[in-house]
C-alpha cells in the first residue's frame, strides 16, 4: 500500500467512526422511537400501525398536558434558583477572590459533586429534609419549631431544592467562563468614566456575561425537564414529571407507542429551547475585538 492511500484510509477512519457512532447511537434510536410513536396499543402488547392517536391523546387528555406544564414549572424554578445562586458565586470568584489558588479551590468545590453518583446525592437530601431529618431536628432543637414539619420533603419544594443542587454546576461553569473572559480594562474604563459599580455591572458585566447565563440556563432547564429520579426519591404524590410518565408507559402501562410519542414531544420541546437560546445568544453577541 503506498503512502497516499494509507493516509486516505486513516482519514476515512477518523471521519467515519464518529459518523457511524452518531448513526448507530443517535439517529437509529430516534427513528425507532419515532416509528413506535405511530403504533397502536393493543392488549396485551402493541401493534405496528401508522396513526396519530398517541399524539392526539397527549394534547387532548388533560393528564399529559398538566404533567408537561408541571415539568416546565419545576424546570423554570430550578433554573431561576440555580441562576440566583450561581451568578453571585461566579462573580465573587472572578472579581473578588484575589488568590488564584483559592479561586480554583472554590470553583472545584462546586464542580466536585459532579463526580459523586447522582443517585447518592439525591438520596442524601432525603436524610436532610425528612421528618426525622437533619433540618427538622436542628429547627426543633433550637426552638424554632415545636415539632418536625412535613413541608420540606415529598413535595415540589424538595424536588426544586434537590435538582438545583444537582444541576447547579452546569450553571456555574458557563457563567464563570463568561465572566472570566471579560477584559478587566473595560471595567476600569467604565469606572474612569465615572460610572458607579451598579451601573458598571448592568452596562458592562451583565451584557457581556449573558451568553454564559443563557448557556447555563439552557443546560439547567433541559436537564431538569428530562429528570425522573428526583420525583421518585424526594417528590410527593404531586411530583410526577413527564419523564416518569414516559418510564411508566415503557414499564407498567406497557404502552410503548404512547411513551414514544411523549418522548418525541419532549425532544421537540428541548430542541426548540436549545434553538431559541442559540438565536438569542447570536442576536446579542457583542464583538470584543
Amino acid at each position: 500500500m503506498n503512502r497516499l492511500s494509507r493516509d486516505g484510509l486513516v482519514r476515512a477512519i477518523v471521519c467515519f467512526t464518529p459518523i457511524l457512532w452518531a448513526i448507530a447511537f443517535m439517529f437509529v434510536p430516534y427513528v425507532i422511537i419515532l416509528t413506535y410513536s405511530f403504533w397502536t396499543k393493543k392488549f396485551p402488547t402493541f401493534l405496528p400501525d401508522f396513526q396519530f392517536g398517541n399524539y392526539a391523546l397527549i394534547f387532548f387528555d388533560p393528564q399529559y398536558v398538566s404533567v408537561l406544564m408541571r415539568t416546565g414549572k419545576i424546570a423554570l424554578f430550578v433554573t431561576a434558583a440555580a441562576l440566583l445562586l450561581a451568578y453571585p458565586f461566579a462573580y465573587f470568584l472572578v472579581f473578588r477572590v484575589k488568590s488564584a489558588k483559592v479561586r480554583g479551590l472554590l470553583y472545584m468545590a462546586v464542580i466536585a459533586p459532579l463526580w459523586v453518583s447522582y443517585l447518592l446525592r439525591a438520596y442524601t437530601w432525603k436524610t436532610i429534609l425528612g421528618n426525622n431529618g437533619v433540618l427538622n431536628s436542628f429547627l426543633v432543637s433550637i426552638g424554632i419549631l415545636d415539632e418536625p414539619t412535613d413541608v420540606f420533603l415529598y413535595n415540589q419544594f424538595s424536588m426544586v431544592v434537590t435538582l438545583t443542587y444537582i444541576f447547579i454546576p452546569f450553571m456555574v461553569m458557563p457563567i464563570y467562563t463568561a465572566l472570566e473572559k471579560i477584559p478587566k480594562n473595560l471595567i476600569e474604563a467604565s469606572k474612569d468614566l465615572g460610572i458607579g459599580p451598579w451601573g458598571t455591572f448592568w452596562k458592562v458585566v451583565w451584557p457581556l456575561s449573558l451568553p454564559g447565563v443563557i448557556a447555563g440556563a439552557t443546560f439547567t432547564f433541559c436537564l431538569t425537564f428530562g429528570d425522573f429520579v428526583a420525583p421518585v426519591l424526594v417528590g410527593g404524590p404531586d411530583g410526577v414529571m413527564v419523564a416518569n410518565i414516559i418510564t411508566s408507559q415503557f414499564g407498567s402501562a406497557l404502552n410503548w407507542p404512547l411513551g414514544s410519542a411523549l418522548a418525541i414531544v419532549v425532544l421537540i420541546i428541548v430542541l426548540s429551547i436549545i434553538e431559541m437560546s442559540d438565536r438569542v445568544q447570536r442576536a446579542g453577541r457583542i464583538d470584543l475585538a
Binding site: P44, T45, Q63, R70, N131, D150, I245, S252, L254, W256
Partner: protein
Amino acid sequence: MSFKTVLKYAVAASVAANFTVSAALAAGEVNLLTWEGYADASYIEPFEAASGCTVSATYVGSNDDFAAKLAAGGGVYDLISPSIDTTSIMIDAGFVETVDTSKIAEWDNLYEKFRTAGGINSGGDVYGVPFVWGAIAFMYRADKFETPPTSLDDLWDENLSGRISLWDDKSAIYVAARRLGHTDIYNLTDAQIAEAQASLIGQKPLVRKYWATAGELVDLYVAGEVWISNTWAGYQSSLIAEQGIEVVEFIPRENAEGWMDSWQIVKDTPNTDCVYKFINMMSSEAGQCGTSAVTGYSVANPVAARACMTQDQFDALHQDDPDYLDALLLWEPLGERIEAYTNAWNAVKSAN
C-alpha cells in the same frame, strides 16, 4: 510461612476457584424476575451448593413490571413469579411456556384450588406452579392510634393528613372502589372506575408518598413519615418490627384483596434443568418454609407446611383453612379492562 507454602496455598486456591467456576458454568443458572423475599440467601445458598445452579434475582415492585421487562427482550430471565391476576397475561402474550407437572414432585400436594386456577391453566396445559399466597392487608403504627382503625375511611381521614401511604399500583383503584361500596372490584364499569379515580385524586393531598417497593414502605414507617397504609400482609410489618417500630395489620370492614403467586417459566429458557430443580426446591419444605419465614406469607403446599411449620405458625397462616382465602377478594385477570384500571391510576398520579 515459607515461600513454598504460600505458593502451595495459592495454587490450591486458584485450582479450587477454577473448579467452582467451571462447575457453575457446567450446571447453569437460574435468573429470577421476582418479588423481594423470594430469593433469600437462607435457602438459596444451600440450593446453589446442592444443585450447582447459580441463582440471581431481579426484583419487581408491581405485577405490571413483568410484562414490561419481558417485552423489552428475552434471554435475560428464566423464571418469573407473577400474581394470579397477571399470569394469564404472560400466557396470552406468549412470554411463558407450559410446565411439565410430572417433573414437579410436590405437584399433587399443592392446594387444588390453586392448581386448577384459571390464571395458570390454558387450553388443557398448565403454565404455572403455585407458590405462596396472602392478603393485601392494611397496617398502622400502634403508638399513633388510640382507637384502632377498622375501615378504609381512615385512609381518607383529614386528621391523618400527611401520614397516609398507598401502594403505587393499579390495586389502588380496587381500594377506592371498595370504599365507595363497589364490591365487584374486578368488573368495575367505566363510571365506577371514574368514581374511584376521583376519590383517589381527592385523597392525594393527604398522601405523604405512594410506596413503590417493600423497602420503601419500610423506610417510610421507620423515618416516621407514614402511620397508615396498605401492605403485603406479613412482610413489611415484620421488617418494620425489626427496626423497633410496632405496626399492626388489619383487614378493614370493606374487606381486602387476596393474591397468589406462581412460578412461570420464560419461553425458550436455556436453563430448563436448573429451572425445574429450582421450582422443585421452592415447592418443597426448604422453599415453602424458607420463604414463609422471610416473608410471613402463607404457602401453596400445605403438606410441606405441615411438616416444617409449628402448629401456631400453621394456624396463623391459615394453612389448614383455605376458606380464609375464599373470604378475601382473590385477584383476577382483568383482561383488556386492565387498560382502564392502569390508565385511571396513572391519571391519579398525574393529577394536580
